[in-house]
Structures are given as C-alpha cells and as structure tokens.
C-alpha cells in the first residue's frame, strides 16, 4: 500500500514533469507552494489529474473535492492521500 510519502513524491514528480515539458522552471517542492502560482494552467492541471488518476486509480475531484478546496501543492497531495485511504477502508 502506498504511503503518504510515496503519494506526495509522485504528485511532486508529476507536477515537475509537466512544468518541464511546458518549458517552465522546475524546483524542489515543499507543499507550501500555492497551486495557482506554480505555473499550472487549468488545462495542465486537468492533465495532471488525469495522469495521477492513471497512477493511483482514483480522482479526488470526481466527487469528494472541488478544486478550490486545494490551495497548495500540499493540499493537492493530501487530497489523494485521503481519497486513497477512504478507498482502502471501503475495500477492507
């Protein structure tokens, strides 16, 4: 089972991969970065969510969250942590 650290690392990695592909600077993410200011447009964010769904098998924004619930990179990672934990609990 994926740990919080695993999930967070994957989210950071995918964000930086997209930023790099878009020609934007990449950086070591701490989680405090405001999501609106790291260089992800709404379309890039959509692509990120699709890729994370392929990775984790879950999309927090399908039902549980709206995008304004996640203001920071850390909050985005937490949304996946919580959604995956809920799915695991439901499956148990």
């Amino acid at each position: 089972m994926l740990t919080t650290t695993d999930i967070t690392a994957t989210v950071h990695e995918r964000i930086n991969a997209l930023l790099k592909e878009d020609g934007k600077p990449v950086r070591l993410l701490t989680g405090d970065e405001p999501l609106a200011r790291i260089g992800l447009s709404s379309l890039l964010l959509a692509r990120l969510i699709i890729e994370l769904e392929a990775e984790f098998g879950a999309d927090p924004f399908e039902e549980d969250y709206v995008i304004s619930d996640v203001r920071t990179v850390g909050a985005l990672a937490d949304a996946y942590v919580e959604t995956l934990a809920n799915l695991a609990a439901a499956a148990a």
Binding site: L18, E21, L44, L45, A46, R47, I49, I50, I67, S68
Partner: protein
C-alpha cells in the same frame, strides 16, 4: 425614365441570390433563386444568359442550377468559377449540412489558404437575423470560425485522437459591407505553438469581395486532446456549481440574532 425592376434588366447576366435577401433583390441584375430555377426549368430564358452565383443558395438549388445549366448549354452558362460546393461538413464541426458556410479549402502558399463563402439562406446564424442588404457580421464570424477549423483539421492536426477546438481570443474589423455576392476568405497562419496540452494557433482571416478587403478577423485557438478538455470542464463546472450553491445557502441563511431589525 420608367422605374426598373430586377426582372427588366439586361438579359445577358444575372446574379442568383437566396430569396430571403429581399432588400438586396431590388438591385438590378439580381434574381431570386426560385425565379431563376423556375425559368431554367421551363427553358424560358434568353439565349446567351450568364448566371452568377451569389449567396443564399441551398445545396439542392446549387445542384439543380448545375444540372440545368449543363442541359441548356450553351444558351446558359454559369460564370467562373462555376457552381460552388461546400466544404466537407465533418471538417467544419457542424452537425447540420445547411450550416456549413464555406467551400472546400485550398492551399495558396506556405501556411496560407483560401475558400469561397458559400451561404445557405437557411443557415442558423442568418435564419433569425437579417437586416438590410448585407450579410451580418455574426455570420462572417461563424464563416471565419469554420474556415480556421477546416484549415486546421485538414492541414495541421493529424492522428486519430479526438480533439476539441477552444477559442482563446477573436478580434474583428469590418471595413465594408459583404453583400450576398461571391466572396472569398483567406487564412494566414501567424504563429503555431506546441504545448503539453495541444497546439495553439494564431491566424488572420481576411474576407474579400473581389478586390475589396471587407473584413479582417484575428483569432487564437487551441486544439486540445479531448480527455484534457473534458476533465478541465468537469472540474470547472463542479467548482462553479459549488460556488453558486454556497452563495444560495448564504442568501437563505437565517439572520443572526444581533442582526435583527429593530
């Protein structure tokens, strides 16, 4: 001098225009397409008649003019460049054939393309909005949109993946009237940027009546892989609904005791 009507003009040449363009049809030399077809079918036409194709004719009317002109030749000829066709409907992203506004697109230079304006008078953007003699600007904007869509689908976007075209910006200038006569559109690609969420196009479309530049439309649009566009829209729609529900709940929330009106 006695008052002239369109029907008493010189029989050598007439311009066929959709019947709906009533105000324009007062101009000598124009003829409603229904009148022209009736006369061609009956053979009641002067020898040596040249027919110009204006705007507003349906596919069926165009086809019938083509067939009748062939049958009546050389008494009747259709003026160059002949009876127009419409662009392939699928390329314009329209569901209804009558809403296709342009002819097939040809390449005229590197990143330059041209097409005829070919309006059906039943087109959705004309059906409820026709004032005066000219073609409304909104109709020309839709023709431009179809034009850049066909150019992009036919010449730039390859592969089987489904995409969505999303407009980023449109700016337009209208220098002179476009009447329901022959007109052409020209496309010039100004910039093409590849991004991780699809290419972005900047183009300039000019609309010409003969040698007259009637209108210039600058557009920026993106071709997005459909899954990205669907997800983007889903996220945005849920956000919009959530924000509206919050607003409604705040509106209908009971007043706090300290706020009671004295």
């Amino acid at each position: 001098m006695s008052r002239s009507t369109a029907q008493s003009v010189s029989p050598d040449a007439v311009i066929a225009v959709g019947d709906r363009f009533e105000d324009f049809l007062v101009n000598r030399g124009t003829v409603p397409v229904s009148d022209l077809l009736a006369r061609l079918r009956s053979g009641d036409i002067p020898d040596g008649l040249t027919v110009g194709i204006g705007q507003g004719l349906s596919d069926g009317e165009l086809e019938e003019i083509r067939a009748l002109a062939d049958r009546l030749a050389p008494a009747v000829t259709v003026a160059k460049p002949g009876v127009p066709e419409r662009a392939r409907q699928r390329l314009t992203h329209k569901h209804d054939a009558k809403n296709v506004l342009i002819g097939p697109v040809g390449q005229t230079g590197e990143h330059r393309f041209a097409a005829d304006l070919v309006l059906d008078q039943q087109v959705e953007v004309l059906e409820d909005h026709l004032t005066g003699q000219h073609i409304p600007a909104i109709t020309l904007l839709e023709a431009a949109r179809q034009f850049w869509t066909v150019v992009t689908e036919q010449f730039y976007v390859t592969g089987p993946d489904r995409t969505r075209f999303v407009i980023g910006s449109v700016g337009s200038t209208f220098h002179s009237f476009v009447f329901p006569l022959a007109a052409t559109l020209q496309y010039e690609l100004l910039e093409l940027t590849r991004t991780p969420v699809g290419p972005v196009f900047k183009c300039r479309i000019s609309i010409h009546h003969g040698d007259t530049l009637a209108s210039v439309i600058d557009a920026e649009y993106r071709v997005i892989p459909e899954p990205f566009s669907v997800k983007q829209e889903k996220i945005a729609a849920r956000q919009a609904v959530s924000a509206e529900l919050t607003r409604l709940r705040e509106q209908s929330a009971p007043a706090m005791s300290g706020d009671r009106v004295a």
